[in-house]
């Protein structure tokens, strides 16, 4: 049917003197030439219009709220800070030199340290999230479907409350009057009447708590898709329980793990709310430093340089990761 329609319209559009061999050719091109595209008769112009209609709003959104601010950030990072925090010329590399450690008071490794510390915190947080999320994902997947939905809802419920408020709640939980601090005091680990924050323990608790759902959800999806017949086959081939888990079940969850690593690792690297509220000056992370530049320090150019660096580092890590693991899990994520 459609084929027939094409040939008649093509015939109508063609001058008569063309040889018949060209008349049935499908691969001609012209602005007014109708072809079947995506199951519709469209001219190339029409197709372009259709594409803009559907993709245009999204493209504009990304341009205005992601690409342009990003470019602005790059420009800022090469400008200087005025005496009152205003952004002004001249163009300079000073912001980047300062990150490398060449400040007005001589060389200092402070930003390297903070960067390294941030990577470490993100790494440790991710590892703990993996260790906690695996049993949880299997636990949820082992339930009948209706109970699974309930359990998954429980995992997601914290998202209904703002992160800052949840972090303040941790301050209550870890406060001097609550039983964890009392227990620690009774055991002699901390002096009586003191809180369990600020400190690394509180920061890690808060970080793992915050990011655990981002690890559980993709892992659960992977666990739910496990082909258990393969486990039976492995059993039949003399694998014991641990071998079945390590060699047969775990490999099937790797796409979920990869997604979880990215979903947890990247935001954990830039996190500032949790270390800000539950940590002190010793737990300053790169996120906090950036936040300070745009906040009390009013040094937008330096903040921009730091942001640009963090973004670049993240992209570089992602690139290395995709080269090593492959992009399939990243595509799954999208």
């Amino acid at each position: 049917m459609l084929e027939a329609e094409v040939s008649t319209t093509e015939k109508a559009a063609l001058p008569k003197e063309l040889p018949s061999s060209q008349r049935i050719s499908r691969f001609r091109w012209g602005w007014d030439q109708q072809q079947i595209r995506f199951g519709e008769m469209l001219t190339p112009l029409g197709e372009l219009g259709r594409s803009l209609l559907f993709a245009g709003p999204g493209v504009l959104w990304v341009m205005f709220f992601l690409v342009l601010p990003g470019l602005l950030l790059v420009v800022y990072s090469f400008l200087s800070r005025g005496d009152f925090g205003q952004i002004q010329l001249p163009l300079t590399l000073e912001n980047y030199l300062r990150i490398l450690g060449y400040g007005p008071l001589g060389w200092t490794p402070i930003y390297w340290q903070i960067l390294g510390r941030s990577l470490l915190v993100a790494g440790v947080t991710t590892v703990f999230c993996v260790l906690l999320a695996y049993p949880l994902a299997f636990f949820i997947a082992a339930h009948p479907p209706r109970q699974r939905d309930l359990l998954l809802t429980l995992v997601v419920i914290p998202f209904w409350t703002n992160l800052v408020i949840r972090t303040y709640a941790w301050m209550l939980v870890l406060g001097p009057e609550a039983w964890p601090a009392r227990l620690a005091a009774w055991l002699g680990w901390i002096p009586p009447q003191t809180a369990l924050y600020p400190g690394w323990l509180a920061v890690y608790l808060g970080m793992v708590y915050t990011f655990l759902p981002y690890m559980v959800l993709p892992l659960y999806t992977a666990v739910e898709r496990i082909d258990w017949r393969l486990a039976e086959a492995a059993r039949d081939l003399y694998a014991n329980g641990w071998q079945v888990f390590w060699r047969i079940l775990l490999p099937q969850t790797l796409p979920g793990l990869a997604a979880g690593l990215i979903l947890v690792g990247i935001p954990a690297f830039g996190m500032f709310v949790v270390p800000d509220l539950l940590g002190g000056s010793k737990t300053l992370l790169i996120g906090n430093v950036i936040q300070l530049q745009f906040g009390s320090s009013l040094d937008y150019p330096f903040g921009a340089a730091l942001s640009f660096l963090v973004t670049g580092l993240t992209l570089a890590l992602l690139y290395a990761y995709s080269r090593y693991v492959g992009t399939r899990s990243l595509e799954d994520l999208l």
Binding site: D227, R229, L230, E232, A233, A234, R235, D236, L237, Y238, A239, N240, Q243, R247, I248, P251, Q252
Partner: protein
């Protein structure tokens, strides 16, 4: 506790009183079965008859609620799958998708601590055996169904199991490939001398491959025997109908070797003088047809051709005899004179006395709540 080893040394598998239920469903209802060393044993039955459950109990993937499982005289009923020297070729193949063909085949050996050169050699030999050496480094999803099937076979065979279990291994393949692999499986089994237990619901597959078969129905074994024995002398109507096709005749004995049926009095061998009811079966291909009839032969019945199905190799006739009795008969597609009857033609059917099989009178084994 070792039982039966000295008495019956050549039983590879012995099952006694196996019973298994899933909730209210009784999957196995008292299975007693012996399987010889080195035989190709077919477990045949309709879906839901318990044949796969039986296989899974042998593999150790399922535990029986009651009964004994002996493999080479050793009690294994309590052992989990990985401690049994038995391997399975699964219906779904269950190949590990993230491993290459060679890694798949070597998995069982590696789990048993085989490493290095020995591992390499054994895997290579197994791949050679099923003719997939060329695909050793591919992933399972890059192979065709038939090739995947061979990998599954090699993965099981490489461990040299005491018994190889095959759970409808050919059911996912197309008809032509299936027939080819049936023959190859037989050849392989004979070459290796390994005990194969082959589950299938396809009677033709069982006929082609198996030395002996057990026909199962509703958690019980209906009949066990050599494949030709079971085909030629089916014990019950169910077996006669499931394995091949059959005509059934209800009658009463009317003296020695005589049964009174709707077709008249027929001569049947092995009927004692009595007046008890008798159920008879005859295979369609055993019925002879003729336009003229034969001299001196008993059991000649006038029939009319009601329908004819041409299947290439043979013709299938649906015949109507006296008392509205229907008979199915098949005849090979030869170019003989006495062949190629048309619909509506009147013929004489000969039911040879030795081809009329007396079935066990009880139509159903008392299966408890199973058939309710």
């Amino acid at each position: 506790m070792i039982a039966g080893t000295s008495r019956e040394p050549d039983w590879d598998v012995e099952l006694r009183g196996l019973y298994k239920r899933f909730g209210d469903f009784v999957a196995l209802n008292g299975i007693d079965l012996q399987i010889r060393r080195g035989e190709f044993f077919g477990l045949l039955g309709p879906s839901g008859c318990g044949k796969t459950t039986l296989l899974r109990i042998l593999a150790g993937l399922e535990m029986a609620d009651a009964g004994t499982v002996l493999i080479r005289g050793r009690q294994v009923g309590h052992l989990p799958a990985h401690q049994r020297n038995v391997n399975t070729v699964f219906q779904s193949y269950a190949l590990f998708p993230f491993m290459t063909v060679a890694e798949n085949v070597g998995f069982g050996l590696r789990m048993r601590g085989v490493r290095g050169e020995t591992l390499h050699k054994k895997v290579a030999a197994a791949l050679e055996l099923v003719e997939i050496s060329a695909f050793a480094e591919r992933k399972p999803h890059e192979l065709s169904g038939g090739q995947q099937q061979r990998v599954a076979l090699a993965r099981a065979l490489v461990n040299e199991p005491e018994v190889l279990l095959l759970d409808e291994p050919l059911s996912a393949l197309d008809a032509k490939l299936r027939k080819q692999l049936q023959v190859q499986l037989c050849e392989l089994q004979r070459r290796l001398g390994m005990t194969f237990i082959f589950v299938t619901h396809d009677q033709e597959e069982a006929l082609v491959t198996s030395d002996r078969v057990a026909v199962m129905r509703a958690g019980r074994i209906e009949q066990v025997g050599l494949i030709d024995e079971v085909y030629e002398r089916p014990a019950t109507a169910f077996v006669a109908d499931f394995l091949g096709a059959s005509n059934f005749l209800q009658g009463t004995a009317c003296g020695t070797d005589c049964v009174d049926t709707p077709l008249g009095k027929l001569k049947v061998l092995g009927i004692p003088a009595s007046h008890e009811p008798v159920q008879l079966a005859i295979r369609p291909e055993k019925i002879q047809l003729s336009r003229t009839g034969w001299d001196l032969l008993p059991n000649q019945v006038p029939v009319r051709v009601e329908n004819l199905i041409y299947t290439g190799a043979e013709n299938q006739y649906l015949l109507r005899a006296i008392n509205n009795q229907q008979l199915k008969a098949t005849a090979l597609n030869t170019d003989n004179e006495d062949f190629g009857f048309a619909i509506g033609e009147s013929l004489v059917a000969h039911l040879p006395p030795k081809s009329l099989i007396r079935l066990q009178s009880a139509p159903l084994p008392t299966g408890g709540s199973l058939d309710a």
